[in-house]
Structures are given as structure tokens and as C-alpha cells.
């Protein structure tokens, strides 16, 4: 089903791709940045032509993309199984909220809060990343299901700790945040997140991460510092979950520990596996499809919450790789990593080598 869905998607986008390919290279070079700016302008003016409800849906889509893409790093690219992503989201949400509600006003910065919002998000992200570091150190001493158990416990601990700190509202929750998250802000953070994660994925660390999923022993035997890679990736994922948490807090303007329960983590898992492991494009797709689907299923009321876990079970059984598993949209691949660039480089190297030395005695491709 998903394979045909993928080919269906490539079929409907084929004319656009053909048109794009026919453009001269300098135009192609600038297509993506220009498109991103155009979308930003549209997002900026979204409040004037999209109603509040759909603005909120769009914002949730964006937040979920950030959550999904970052979790995909751990569960998809690295092949570990982290189930407590909402815990990091909670850390980011509470820290950012405390900053904008208490800290900034107390420092007499009340009127600058909208401008300080990105800073609050960053600090929230860093706090989440730091907790990620604390979790990662003991968890990655062993392998496999262990991480799932630790992150599950982590999620529950965060929830009950928050419920028991009365200063930040305990189980009643924390409020007083301004509505700072807008479609435009979320859009910017999504673009930044995807861009940074994309760069990471196509780097030494990204390849190291993939190699851990493929064969951890072989990975360390070709010089990959697997412990360092695992911890790094986990912290990066936690950081972005924290950012998403901050954005989330400043759209619903009221957070309570229950917003970050294991159910929320499950949602993110569903989006990761629906979109496809090891694919940022898949995460964008998975988060969008799932978020919109849940909105459309509102008439089902409580039964709606059956959809997620059910979908997760079905996906794991029938389509463990998801819609875009291990594949990437062409435009997401850095120019220097695209097949034709690699082929051209190979050709150049071959010509250069032919002029100097003999290749290994491998008798062509007789096998």
C-alpha cells in the first residue's frame, strides 16, 4: 500500500519535476530558497485568510514535524527505540514558559517578550538536551530494549515530577503564556530544524548513526565512536523536542503534565513509523498526514485515540519502513551528495587515475 502510495506521489509530482529539471542551473540553484521565502510570506499573512481553527492545525502540523523528524533520528536513523519523546517536550515547554511568564517580566523585559521568544525556545531546547544527556549516559551502556524501558520510565518520571512541583502548578498545570506561536514562527522553526537535521544526517555523524543501526559491532570496528554518536544523536533529538515543546506551550497557552504523557509520545512514534524511518521527507509527510487525519476524525470523539496505537501496530506488522522508509525527496539531498554529482566526481577520479597508476588486479567485473 505504501509503496503504491509512494509511486502515486512521484507520479503526480512528475510534471513539476520535469519542469524543474528543464530550468537552467542558476535558476534551479535558487528555486528552493525562493520557494521557502514565498512560503514564509504566505505563512506571515496566514492569519488574514485562514481561520483560527485551521491556523492552529497548521501550527500543530509544524510542531509535530519537528517532533517527528527529531525522533526519527533516534528511532529511524539509529534504529534504537526511544519512547519518551514527550518527556523532553515537557522540559522544553515548562522551561520556555517559565522564562516568558516569570523570568523575563521580572527582569523588566515584559514588553520585549515577543522578541525574546526565540531565546526562550532555545533555552528550553538546551534544557531538554541536557536532560537528554543525563538519560543517554546510562542508557547507552547497553543496547536494545533497554533504551525503550529507560525512556518510558523517563516519560513517567517527568510527568510525576511536574505533577508534584506545586510552584509550577502541579497537576493543575501552568498558564499565563502569551500566544506567541504563530504560523510564521512555526514555519521558520520547521525549516531551521529540517535544514539542520538534514545537514547532520548527511555528515560523518549521520553516517555513523546509520551504521549503528546496520551493525553496531562492525561500526565500531571501522572506527566509529559508537558511544559518542549515540549520545550526540540522542541529545540533538531531545533538543529539538524541547523546541517543539516551547512552541506548543505558546500556542495552547496552558500546559499541564498530562499533555506530555506517554500518549503524546505514542503519537510521535506513530508519525515516525507512518512517514518512514530514516527519512526526513517521510517525517514531514507522516506528521502532516497523521495530524490532519486526527483532526478529520474529531467526530469519532474518544475513539479517535484508538487510531494512533492501532495504526502503530498495523504499521509495525505490515509496513515497518513506512511511506518513505529509507528514501528521501531529491530536493532534501544536499547537491554534492546527489547521484549525478557523485557519478561526475567518480568519472573525474577515474580519468585522473588512468593517467598515473594501475588499479587493483580484480579482473573487471567477471563476477
Amino acid at each position: 500500500m505504501t509503496r503504491s502510495l509512494f509511486s502515486f506521489l512521484s507520479r503526480i509530482t512528475a510534471p513539476f519535476r520535469a519542469a524543474y529539471e528543464s530550468l537552467p542551473p542558476p535558476v534551479r540553484r535558487w528555486t528552493m530558497p525562493v520557494l521557502l521565502i514565498v512560503f514564509f510570506i504566505i505563512a506571515l499573512f496566514a492569519p488574514s485568510f485562514v481561520n483560527l481553527y485551521w491556523q492552529q492545525v497548521l501550527i500543530y502540523v509544524g510542531i509535530n514535524i519537528i517532533l517527528t523528524a527529531s525522533l526519527n533520528l533516534v528511532n529511524g536513523y539509529m534504529g534504537e527505540f526511544s519512547v519518551g519523546h514527550a518527556g523532553f517536550m515537557a522540559v522544553g515547554a515548562y522551561v520556555a514558559s517559565i522564562l516568558t511568564v516569570w523570568v523575563f517580566p521580572r527582569w523588566g523585559l515584559g514588553e520585549y517578550i515577543p522578541y525574546l521568544f526565540p531565546l526562550a525556545l532555545l533555552i528550553g531546547g538546551l534544557a531538554a538536551g541536557l536532560t537528554g544527556l543525563v538519560i543517554a549516559f546510562p542508557s547507552f551502556r547497553t543496547r536494545g530494549d533497554y533504551l525503550a524501558i529507560v525512556t518510558l520510565a523517563w516519560n513517567m518520571i517527568v510527568k510525576s515530577v511536574l505533577e508534584n512541583i506545586d510552584a509550577i502548578g502541579g497537576p493543575r498545570g501552568f498558564m499565563g503564556m502569551q500566544k506567541l506561536t504563530s504560523v510564521a514562527w512555526v514555519y521558520v522553526w520547521v525549516v531551521i530544524t529540517i535544514y539542520l537535521l538534514r545537514n547532520l544526517v548527511y555528515s560523518n555523524f549521520g553516517r555513523g548513526t546509520l551504521s549503528i543501526r546496520e551493525d553496531e559491532i562492525a561500526s565500531s570496528l571501522v572506527s566509529v565512536d559508537t558511544r559518542k554518536v549515540k549520545i550526540t544523536v540522542f541529545v540533538v533529538a531531545a533538543f529539538f523536542a524541547g523546541i517543539a515543546g516551547g512552541l506548543f506551550a505558546h500556542i495552547i497557552q496552558f500546559i499541564n503534565p498530562r499533555s506530555f504523557s506517554i500518549l503524546k509520545s505514542t503519537d510521535v512514534l506513530v508519525m515516525v513509523y507512518l512517514g518512514g524511518i530514516g527519512s526526513l521527507g517521510g517525517s514531514i509527510l507522516g506528521a502532516t498526514v497523521y495530524t490532519v487525519l486526527l483532526e478529520l476524525l474529531r467526530p469519532l470523539q474518544v475513539w479517535r485515540w484508538v487510531v494512533g496505537p492501532l495504526l502503530l501496530v498495523l504499521l509495525m506488522i505490515f509496513r515497518p519502513y513506512g511511506i518513505m522508509g529509507m528514501r528521501e525527496w531529491r530536493f532534501m539531498v544536499p547537491r554534492e551528495e546527489r547521484i549525478e554529482t557523485i557519478a561526475a566526481l567518480m568519472e573525474r577520479i577515474r580519468r585522473k587515475r588512468e593517467a598515473v597508476a594501475a588499479p587493483a588486479p580484480v579482473g573487471g567485473s567477471s563476477d
Binding site: 555523524f205 565500531s220 571501522v222 559508537t226 587493483a360
Partner: protein, 256 residues
């Protein structure tokens, strides 16, 4: 001075003695073979050298570094690379990525440099890409650089594994039964390849082989293991006529 010095290497799996009192002095540029019947402890020796297991007893020195207690990736970045008895490529990744991953320790940029595409990242990545492609070209895998590793035919997978090992820029290469599963034609080609990379990359090589005749052709010195113990050591000619070796092999043959 020897590249690799192993003294009294002993390893137990629970009560099972896998390797007992293994000693080795390896001079730079040597190509030695370790042979022995199944379960003789040959692969365990490689696993002990590369830090997969920590030896129960014994010392391993590589160019003056004590390897015991070091992590595998640290040992590899000191200049020891290996291949595996059963091919262990990163199957779902491209041929190029398989080789580039092995350059992990040779790259020094950090996560921020990667995320923001700082000059250091761009430079090191460009270098890694080029080095990896050069290596693939040398190993006759240039057409397949963008293929998924699992789609390569068997012989090429073996070659890719060697290319990946070479990408770590080793001084010492450990080859674990590289001829396993190959037909006589491929084996002849492989023997030629091993001698070629040894010259080209100025390597010291330890070759594990199950089949005696493979090692006889290319190794200067052979050690024979049986039940974890070194039962013979010497030139191919000496080994061929050693009664203990014949017994170990015939004994195994009789069981089979």
C-alpha cells in the same frame, strides 16, 4: 621493532578455553597466516586484538600502544583494520557510504560544524568523498559507488569490505577468511589482490584461513592453532610436513 607484539594471550568463554598462551611478533610488512580447524580460536584472536573481547590474560602491543582495555574504535584509529568471516557490510547503505563511514575517526569536525555547514565540514567532507571514491576506483568498484551494498554480487561485497577496511588507513590489516565461499578462480584473484594491496598501501597483514592451500601460496610465515593452542609455527614448507598439523587436519577430516 615489531609492529605487533602479543604475549601470553589467553581467553576463556566461561569454562571454555578459546585461546591459550598465544604469542606473536610481527615485523613491518610481514604477511603471516593463521590456520587451524574450525573452532581453533583464530577469529577469537582477531576479536581480542580489535577489542571486541577483553582478554582474560595477556598483553597486546601495537606500535608501542597497549591495546588491552581500549575500545574497538580507538584501536582501529591507531591503525588496525579488519574484515569479517561472514561479510558484515552496512547492507542498506550505499557502497560509497560504506567506505566513508570507515573514515569516521579521520574527520574532526563537530556537530555544530556539520549542522551549519561550516568550512571545516565542507572541506573534510569533500576530502572524505574523494578519498572514498579513489579507493573504490582502485578496488574496481567505481561503477557501483551509488549502489546499495546488498545489491553487489558476492565477490564485490568481499572487495568492498576490504576497501572499507583500507579506508580507515590501517598499518595492520586483519583478514578473516576472505576466501570463504569463493570458487577457485575467485580465490586466485583474491590472493593476487591481497599481495597487491599489501604493496600499494604498505601494509602488514595477518590472514586467517581455514583452507591451508590458500595461505601456503602467499604467506611467509604460518601459525597453526588447534583448540586455542599454537601447535606449530614456521614457513609454509615446514608447516606442510609437520606431523601435529597433519594430525589436527586429518582428525578434523575424519570427523567430517
Amino acid at each position: 621493532m615489531p609492529v605487533l607484539q602479543i604475549r601470553g594471550l589467553t581467553h576463556y568463554f566461561g569454562g571454555l578455553r578459546a585461546v591459550y598462551d598465544f604469542n606473536l611478533d610481527l615485523e613491518p610488512g610481514e604477511l603471516i597466516g593463521i590456520i587451524g580447524p574450525n573452532g581453533a580460536g583464530k577469529t577469537t584472536v582477531f576479536n581480542l586484538i580489535t577489542g571486541v573481547y577483553r582478554p582474560t590474560e595477556g598483553e597486546i602491543f601495537f606500535n608501542g600502544h597497549n591495546l588491552v582495555g581500549k575500545r574497538s574504535d580507538q584501536i582501529v584509529s591507531l591503525g588496525i583494520a579488519r574484515t569479517f568471516q561472514t561479510i558484515r557490510l552496512f547492507k542498506n547503505l550505499s557502497v560509497l557510504d560504506n567506505v566513508r563511514i570507515a573514515r569516521f575517526a579521520r574527520m574532526s569536525y563537530g556537530v555544530p560544524a556539520a549542522m551549519f555547514r561550516l568550512p571545516k565540514y565542507v572541506r573534510e567532507e569533500a576530502e572524505a568523498r574523494e578519498r572514498a571514491l579513489e579507493l573504490l576506483e582502485l578496488m574496481g568498484l567505481s561503477e557501483q559507488a551509488t549502489w546499495v551494498a546488498s545489491s553487489l554480487p558476492y565477490g564485490m561485497q568481499r572487495r568492498l569490505e576490504i576497501a572499507r577496511a583500507l579506508a580507515t588507513e590501517p598499518r595492520l590489516l586483519l583478514l578473516d577468511e576472505p576466501a570463504a565461499g569463493m570458487n577457485p578462480g575467485e580465490i586466485a584473484e583474491l590472493m593476487e589482490l591481497i599481495q597487491w594491496i599489501r604493496r600499494r598501501f604498505d601494509l602488514t597483514i595477518i590472514l586467517i584461513e581455514h583452507q591451508m592451500r590458500v595461505v601456503m601460496g602467499i604467506c611467509e610465515r604460518i601459525k597453526v592453532l588447534d583448540f586455542g593452542e599454537t601447535i606449530a609455527e614456521g614457513t609454509p614448507a615446514e608447516i606442510q610436513n609437520n606431523p601435529r598439523v597433519i594430525e589436527a587436519y586429518l582428525g578434523e577430516e575424519a570427523v567430517v
